[in-house]
């Protein structure tokens, strides 16, 4: 064991004096064993969190996470880092609040500082109808015991005095504020869960792409990978963005489309925006990272794609929203834009469920809500895999809900994934 395995101010101090030589790998570079109790496909945030909670909460430590590239290479490392639980529908609220609570204790739980920063998420409204819709949402949150405040224009102005109040096409009337919402350093979530799972005995196997599933009598027996066959009693898929591709290897068709969401970061500037602000009259939301970059995004490009990149019209649309809301940022520069592939489900809500194949479990359809869901997704998926029954806060996330007409449609857009 390396000299400094536990992270703390003392170990940092000690290693500072000793030239930082006493740190060991955050996670072992594991090679696959012949078989495991559980194999999780996908070394992203959700997969790693699932493995961590399987080991930590459900006592299953003979677990492997197989990842086709490097861990955290999917959406956990490509998102705009926002966490919140300001949902509307009863099928969603308890789940996302479970996630929020796990975020709040994450660093102590993992002994890893993922910089969970609760600086508030403010959704602006620009009309009476939008205000009432946010009131409905805020009230639903309050009935669930979650913090929500409906701000009027003046209260918004006192928080963010330099937004466009005087020459706006769609004047700001107020906003719905969740103070407990905020941001988390996204990559660190993957690394923190990986380290936590590793310390509990989970094998994290990178550069192992799943190429097929082995079945025996309709029951899963393992996964074929580019690093060989790995036997498994149970297999969990957590490959959002590629769910349809991977599920197809198991003969499953999913109510999911893959779409690209572009995200953006500006050059670093001194503190300007404290919390997260979303524009209610255009496609734009923004926060500022601890490094100083404005991190922002807007709408998905709107067509099926597996290419991790988008096109110029959406870039323009996002910045038009940005400048309409905050014309002070005109001379700040865009540093970098990128795209992540979203599992867009048919109602905008996720799926955590068994599949028709015995022993094969599915977690996906996160749309662009996946990052904030990471801890609860891991916990609920672990619960499902370990107990073979859904976690109580994820009961609505059934795979067959579209067939039965029990959609969880926050935006009311129907079976049109690119509108969610």
């Amino acid at each position: 064991m390396p000299r400094s395995d536990r992270y703390s101010i003392f170990s940092v101090f000690l290693e500072g004096l000793r030239g930082q030589t006493g740190w060991g790998p955050a996670w072992r570079k594991a090679s696959p064993k012949p078989s495991y109790d559980v194999v999780i496909v996908g070394g992203g945030g959700h997969g790693l969190a699932t493995a961590y909670y399987l080991a930590k909460r459900y006592g299953l430590t003979n677990v492997a996470v197989v990842e086709k590239g490097w861990i955290g290479s999917g959406n956990v490392g490509r998102n705009t880092t926002i966490v919140r639980s300001n949902y509307l529908l009863p099928g969603n609220i308890p789940f996302y609040e479970t996630s929020m609570k796990l975020w709040e204790g994450l660093e102590q739980d993992l002994n890893y500082n993922a910089m969970v920063s609760q600086r508030g998420v403010l959704n602006l409204y620009h009309s009476d109808a939008q205000r009432d819709a946010y009131a409905r949402r805020g009230n639903a949150m309050r009935l669930h015991g979650i913090d929500a405040e409906l701000l009027d224009r003046e209260a918004v102005r006192s928080m963010y005095p330099w937004l466009n109040y005087d020459s706006a096409r769609f004047p700001i009337q107020g906003g719905l504020l969740q103070r407990r919402g905020g941001t988390v350093r996204h990559d660190a979530v993957a690394w923190g869960y990986a380290r936590g799972a590793d310390r509990l005995g989970v094998d994290i196997i990178e550069n192992a792409e799943v190429t097929g599933f082995r079945l025996d009598n309709g029951k899963i027996t393992g996964v074929e990978t580019t690093r060989g066959f790995i036997g498994a009693k149970k297999v969990g898929l957590a490959v959002a963005g590629n769910s349809s591709r991977v599920a197809a290897m198991a003969g499953l068709t999913l109510p999911i489309e893959s779409h690209v969401l572009q995200a953006f970061v500006s050059e670093g500037i001194k503190p300007l925006i404290d919390g997260v602000v979303t524009f209610g009259a255009g496609h734009f939301y923004v926060s500022q990272s601890d490094k100083g970059g404005l991190v922002f995004g807007g709408d998905i490009d709107g067509y099926n794609t597996y290419a991790q990149r988008g096109n110029l019209p959406v870039v323009e649309d996002v910045l038009e929203g940005g400048m309409a809301l905050m014309p002070r940022i005109g001379r700040v520069r865009l540093l970098r834009s990128w795209g992540g592939i979203m599992d867009m489900s048919m109602d905008g809500s996720p799926i955590i469920d068994r599949t028709p194949t015995q022993g094969l479990y599915f977690n996906g359809g996160w749309c662009y809500g996946g990052f904030k869901a990471t801890p609860a997704s891991g916990l609920c998926f672990a619960h499902l895999i370990a107990r073979d029954e859904p976690h109580e806060v994820a009961r609505a996330y059934r795979l067959d809900r579209f067939r039965t007409g029990h959609m969880i449609d926050e935006k009311g857009m129907g079976n049109q994934p690119n509108l969610h």
């Binding site: 500072g16 930082q20 308890p94 205000r131 009230n139 309050r142 096409r169 670093g268 005109g330 857009m413």
Partner: protein, 995 residues
Amino acid sequence: MTQSAQTSRLNNRGLIDRSQLLDFTFDGVPYTGYAGDTLASALLANGVRLVGRSFKYHRPRGILTAGSEEPNALVELRSGARREPNTRATVAELFGGLEAKSQNRFPSLSLDLLAINGLVSPFLSAGFYYKTFMWPAAFWEKLYEPMIRRAAGLGRAAPEQDPDSYDKATAYCDVLVVGSGPSGLMAALSAARAGARVILADESFAFGGRLLSDARTVDGKSGADWVASVIAELKSFPGVKLMSRTTVFGAYDTGTFGAVERVADHVAIPAAGVPRQRLWRIVAKHSVIAQGAGERPIVFGNNDRPGVMLASAVRTYINRFGVAPGGTAVVFSNNDEAASTIQDLVSAGVTVAGLVDTRTSLPPAIKSLARKHGIRVFEGAVVADALGGSRVTGARIIASYGAPQTVACDLIAVSGGFNPNLQVTTHQGSRPQWRDDLAAFVPGALPKGMAVSGSAKGTYGLASCLKEGAQVGAAAAAAGGFVATAAAIPTADDEPAEVSAFWHVDSSKHKAFVDQQNDVTAADVRLAEREGFQSVEHLKRYTTLGMATDQGKTSNINGLAMLAALTGKTIPATGVTAARPPYTPVALGALAGEHRDKHFKPTRLTPSHDWAKERGAVFIETGLWLRAQYFPKPGETDWLTTVCREVSTVRNSVGVCDVSTLGKIEIHGTDAGKFLDRVYINMMSTLGVGKARYGMMLREDGIAMDDGTAARFADDHYFITTTTANAIKVLQHLEFCRQWHWPDLDVQIVPVSDQWAQYSVAGPRARDLLAKIVDAPFDISNAAFPYMAVAELTVLGGIKARLYRLSFSGEMAYEIGVPARHGDLLMRTLMSKGEEFGVTPYGTEALGVMRIEKGHVAGPELNGTTTCADLGLGKMASTKKDFVGRILSQRPGLADPNRPRVVGFKPVDKSARLRGGAHFIAKDAEPVAKNDLGFMTSVAFSPSLGHWVGLGFLAGAESRMGEILRAVDPVRNSDILVEVVSPVFYDGEGARLRV
């Protein structure tokens, strides 16, 4: 008063215009420079070396490069509302009156107290923050993070709104050439001569690329003169567009490129009507990427000290700007370009105190050159450390032989070889390929239509670049169907360009910076590798290497090579991080263009807008429309007073409302009725000519999409309306049904929303008012023109009009449509002729009040999750036919009789106010989620009833009629009792409609 008189300026050298002396200030100190200078060259001319402070350790930093890859010399340019943070001094064009300030220092550049971070740096290793600041949890937001946030960031955003304007433009061409160095110029020339439409874009204010920076001759002319001759020829072609100050920042699908033109960044304030910058979408059939190659530094101890400069930048400052970047130089190199550097330094009168080359055996030409100028040569040697603090004072040299030596100097010209600028070629997902002979990545498979040329492709040597450019340009034009031959190749030599890979001097005890802007050191790379961050992406994310404003142009390859050495893998096996758009940072304002403030989205005006404005209406944004919300009379100070008066007037006499915003669609054809039967849940084919019917459309998933009316004017002619919000969506849906589902039907769909000014004339005196404008002999008596009748007629002496006996308000009412140009006249006439009835105009508020009083569902109820049964319209659905949404609406979850339904609510305490968004809880139950019964969607104060009324969705609605519930609204601190009632509050029998 100027501080100094450009002491480092070289006489008779450079491409600056010495006739234009320009004043500028840096950190408040006045200096002068010349037109043609960058801020960096002007600062160097004035002997200024210390320009900024680094991100993490606040170390003094100078100017490393002469181009857009600059990691260190970032300044705040201009002041006040025009303040631009993080502006690279190396590309900022000098103008008279320019103001610049150093950034990220306190209190001043020379004395930065945060430089203390350097002293505690042993504890601030890569990723240290992931390992600490965890206890106690609450301290993160309160203490640790604010501290980190204040220290981080570089410059400051402007304190107020950007006062300048931005513009967007589109350009088309056969061949886009990006970069105007030797290769780009020849490509443009070949394509232009073939007759192709050519765009030549260059990020600099002058065309020529390295030809302006290196002392080379082409066709016997100086580089600059040859460039001028080519540009002159290009200008003579009408199909050629030359775009300087234009950065092509991104390559997108199907030959679309994003570019930003800095139209007025080289003047203090843009002239009136001139945008600061312009976003270009360039659509190119073919493109030639010729963005050259960027030099990389070698990583050694204290390699960030002001005075350490890329060798190519040294040459640029001497040749292009006529500035000696130092007095005594040491050249540290691993490649043959050292020869040019030495020649240029010597010719500029700079003492060259040593040539340090990592290669153990230098080419004889370089050796003899050094000998000729009396320069000490250190073969197989490295500069282990730069000496000095806020500027270089010497170099500590270690050779494979002998003891370390210190050579005094104030400039270290460093070159670690070149990286092709291939970023734009990878934006669409191609991966670069490693070439061992060049010790560099070159472009891999290219997107369709794209070619690369010159040093961007790894083709070094002036003659080779000229030749390749000519060929690639001709090929691009030929691919576009032009008869093209490569332009004749001008005479030039290929300079030797041999390189021996060398990345990092590991024999230093001092900090050696890989990523200078983000303060990532060689030790950080080692630590990351030790902790398992061995993927190149992990290295980047853990250490922030390559994430600075230069996207790692001067650091990525060094970091990657160091990682490869640590893991024992090859460089290509280690991989490379992906470059993403933009190529260099782009002002956010430019990407928005003119679409900000009131021009964020277009504004749509109703036909009565001018009249309403005269009348003093208060307007409201409704989608893109601007609609009259209410019409206050003099003395009315409260909107509610006005709205109540408008409602009462309608209910008691007559009012007029502009409802032109409704979507209006003509449906023609012999199958029009059949078609409408398939898109509405109810029957439309049975509608009589001269009649209208309310209709509801579902989405295919069984959810209500939109409601409106269908009127039939002939067997093969219907006119339908949609809600204001869904006009475009419904049209798209109908076209989809017509074109894709039922192509065999004879149906024509024509949107006519803008054709008609349509006004609701409502109230007991509506008929009396209309009688005054309807032309004889049309009979509008109740018998001749009953409820739900429609007709074509003329009004006001011959104006074609359509009259519909429809009511949204619940009163006897009509909608009258006239061609939009007559809308203003019709409104004015209705107002004047209605005076005797006390007519009132009414706006969207009164419209909303009356629809709630009547229990009509609208946007808040048609929220995309409700079925027609939820809306109380279940019985409308025909069982005799199929229609869009029918099948899926039968799914158990949607057909469940226990789903919340629309009902009405009134407050138990009649003075209490209802609130949209309140949730319903049983009277004696706790206000918690499990007791949630539904929510209020629409509320209004009903002047007709004298209290608030509301509509909302309630679970188990039918069994709860008459029940008293709590309407809780914790976000507005309200909790009142309401009674569940019928949603129709007013004239439940509909008697008033039919009189």
